[in-house]
Subunit: 370 residues, 2 copies
C-alpha cells in the first residue's frame, strides 16, 4: 500500500483510517459508544456506517451532558472554493446533532487561513467565498436562533483576543512538529492554529464559565485540535471533544474529493445536469466488459459511485445493502447504477440550490461580526 | 568597551549610537537634513542636540510633503508598566511634529505584545496599563480631532485584517534572523511584528490611497520597521519613514531607563517629592570629595543628572551649556545641580499629573475600538 498523507492542507494516497487513528492518537467509536449516542436519539447513517468513526473525549462529553451540562457544537470551513459534497457531509451530521441535542452551533469560516495558505488567493476573494460557503451551511436548515456563523476576518477582534491567549502557550517547535512547518513558512500560517482554536473557547468566554464543546469534522483537522486540547487546561478551559468522519472520496477513485480538481468533485453550485455528467464519468468497480461484469460481478468496495450512496445518498441500510448485492452479483450494471444515483443527485442539487438562494436573504440572521 | 544589545525587548550595556546606525543600517540625521526640518518649522532641542539622531527615508518623506503629499505620524507604547520619562521623551517630540506639520497621529498600545512577551503579565493587566499609558500621551496636549489611540486587543479587527497581509510576506526565518527567535518562542511573539506593522498601513487603507507615514520612536524599535519596510512594496504600500531617538539613560548611569527597575526610573505617576528623592540618589559625574570636585571639576558627559537636563528639562541650549561649564569647572557641586533639577522635575510632574487627571475624562475622545 502506498504511504498516505493527511494534514489540514494536504490529503494524498489511499487513506488507511485505522492506521490514522494510531498515527493521530484518536479513539475508535466502539459499538458501545455508538449505542450510547443512539440511545440519546442520534439516528444517522453516518454514525451507523462509521463514516463518523473516531473521536476524542466523546465519552467525557456525554458524561457531562448526562449530568445536565449541555455542550455546544463547533465546526468550520476554509473558504477558498465553492462548497463540494465532501464539505457538506459532516455539516449534515452536525445538523442532526443540533436537532437531537438542541445545542448551539458555532460555524467558523477561516478566510484568513485560506489567504495565508493559498499563494494566489486574495483576501477579498477568500472573504467572498466565506459568504458563499455560509449559504451552503444555512441551506441545510440550521436554526438561526441557535446558530452563529462568522469569518475570521470579520470576527477578528473576538477571536484574536482568545487566540493571543492560546498563542502564549504554543511554541514554534510545536507547530513545526505538528504541521511540519519550516523556516520558510510565513508567520501567519504559524499563528493560524490559534485562530482556529479560539471558537472552542468562545462559548466559555461568552458565558463566563466552562462550556463543553464538541467538534464534528473530517479527521484531517485533528492536528489543530491536538494543539487546542493541549493548551486548554493551561488556560483553565475544558478540552474540546471531537468526532471525526472519513473523507468523501473523489469521483476518480481513492483520495478525497478536492475542490482543486473540479472535474472529479461535485460542487453545490454545479448546474444539476452538469453535475450528473461528472458523476457518470466517475470511477467504478465494474468489469472490463458487460459480459465479464455479468459473470464476475462488480466491486462496490472500490467504486466511487457506491461510496456516494454509502456516504450521502442512500440513508436506508437495507436499500444500500441491496445496491451492494446487486453489484456484487452482476445483476446491476454500472450504467444503470449511475443513472439511479444521477437522478438522486440532480434532485438533491436542485433542492439544495433552492434553499441556498433562500439562504442569501437570511445570511444576516446568522452572521456575527465585530 | 562592553558589547551592547539593543532589541525591542532588551537593551543592555552602554550603547554606541554610531555603531548602532551601522548595525541596523539606518541613516544619520545630517546637519543638512536637520536644517531642512528647521526650515519647515521644527524647532526642538531633541533635534538640535541630535537626541533624535537617525532615520530611514526622511528625505523621501519631506520630498513628498513638499509635493503637497501630507504624511501621518505613528508611534506606540508597550503597556506593561506605568509610563516613565523615557517613554514620554519621543512623544514630546511627536507632539511638536504634529503642531508643525498639522498631521494626524496614530498611537498604538501593544497590549497583545506585552501579554505575549511578559510571562507573568495577564491580558487584563496589559489592557489596564494600555489605558493608563494613554493618559500620559493625551496629557501632553495632543489634538483630539487629529489623534487616534487604540490598543491592539480593542482594535484587533482593523489591525488583524492588515496584519494578515503582512504575515503572508514574512517568514519564520526572517523573524528568527531579525529578533533572534528560537524553536521555543511562542507563536504569538512570532506573529506580533505584523500587528505592529499594521498601523503604518492603516491610513492608506482608510483613505483608499497610499499615505506617507513617519514613525518617531526610540531606535530599539528599528527591528520591527525593517520588516515592515521590506514588506510594504510587496503589498503596494509606501515604506514608512522613521526618525529615531536615543534612549533616556537610567538614573544609575549607562543603560536605558527601565520600568522594570523602578528605583532608577521616574514614572509619571510617582509622587513628585518621591520622584525628586530618586533623582537625588542618581549617578553623577562628581568627584570623590567636594574638595576634589572643586579642584578637578565634574564630568557631565557621564552624569545621569546632566542627561536629564539635556534630554528633557533644559530646552535652552545656552542654559544647558552653562550647566555643562559650571560642572566642568568645578563651580557647581552635584548637590546643588540635583536640587535645581529636582525642583524642575517636581514642577513638571505636578503639572503632568494635573493634565493626566483631566485626560481620564477625555479618553473616549481619542480611543477607537472595533
Amino acid at each position: 500500500m502506498n504511504e498516505f498523507v493527511v494534514t489540514p492542507w494536504e490529503v494524498k494516497g489511499e487513506i488507511d483510517y485505522q492506521k490514522l487513528i494510531k498515527r493521530f492518537g484518536t479513539q475508535l467509536i466502539t459499538d458501545q459508544l455508538a449505542g450510547r449516542l443512539e440511545r440519546h436519539g442520534v439516528d444517522h447513517w453516518m454514525l451507523r456506517r462509521r463514516i463518523f468513526y473516531s473521536h476524542r473525549d466523546l465519552v467525557w462529553l456525554l458524561n457531562r451532558y448526562d449530568q445536565k451540562e449541555p455542550f455546544v457544537l463547533y465546526t468550520g470551513r476554509g473558504p477558498s472554493e465553492n462548497t463540494h459534497l465532501g464539505h457538506l457531509m459532516p455539516w449534515i451530521f452536525l445538523r442532526h446533532l443540533q436537532d437531537v441535542f438542541g445545542t448551539k452551533v458555532y460555524f467558523q469560516l477561516t478566510d484568513d487561513e485560506k489567504y495565508l495558505f493559498k499563494p494566489g488567493l486574495t483576501m477579498e476573494r477568500a472573504r467572498w467565498f466565506a459568504h458563499e460557503n455560509a449559504l451552503d451551511f444555512i441551506a441545510l436548515g440550521f436554526d438561526p436562533t441557535k446558530t452563529v456563523i462568522f469569518s475570521d476576518l470579520d470576527y477578528a477582534k473576538s477571536l484574536y483576543n482568545i487566540a493571543v491567549r492560546v498563542a502564549k502557550k504554543v511554541t514554534y517547535s510545536t507547530t513545526k512538529a505538528v504541521f511540519g512547518f519550516a523556516e520558510s513558512t510565513n508567520v501567519g500560517r504559524i499563528f493560524f492554529t490559534c485562530m482556529q482554536s479560539a471558537p472552542a473557547f468562545l462559548p466559555s468566554e461568552e458565558e463566563g464559565k466552562n462550556v463543553p464543546c464538541l467538534i464534528p469534522c473530517a479527521i484531517d483537522q485533528d492536528a489543530h485540535w491536538r494543539i487546542t486540547r493541549d493548551v486548554a487546561p493551561l488556560l483553565g478551559y475544558y478540552k474540546p471533544a471531537t468526532i471525526y468522519c472519513k473523507l468523501l472520496p473523489s469521483l476518480a477513485g481513492p483520495g478525497k474529493m478536492s475542490a482543486s480538481i473540479p472535474e472529479t468533485s461535485i460542487f453545490t453550485t454545479d448546474e444539476p445536469a452538469a453535475a450528473r455528467k461528472k458523476l457518470e464519468r466517475g470511477f467504478t468497480g465494474g468489469g472490463v466488459s458487460i459480459a465479464e461484469q455479468k459473470r464476475l460481478g462488480g466491486k462496490p468496495e472500490v467504486c466511487s459511485i457506491y461510496r456516494y450512496y454509502q456516504f450521502l445518498f442512500e440513508p436506508d441500510d437495507k436499500k444500500l445493502n441491496k445496491i451492494y448485492e446487486e453489484c456484487r452479483s452482476g445483476e446491476m450494471m454500472c450504467g444503470e447504477c449511475k443513472k439511479r444515483l444521477g437522478a438522486r443527485l440532480e434532485k438533491f442539487l436542485t433542492e439544495h440550490q433552492r434553499q441556498r438562494a433562500r439562504a442569501r436573504e437570511r445570511l444576516d440572521d446568522f452572521l456575527v461580526m465585530d
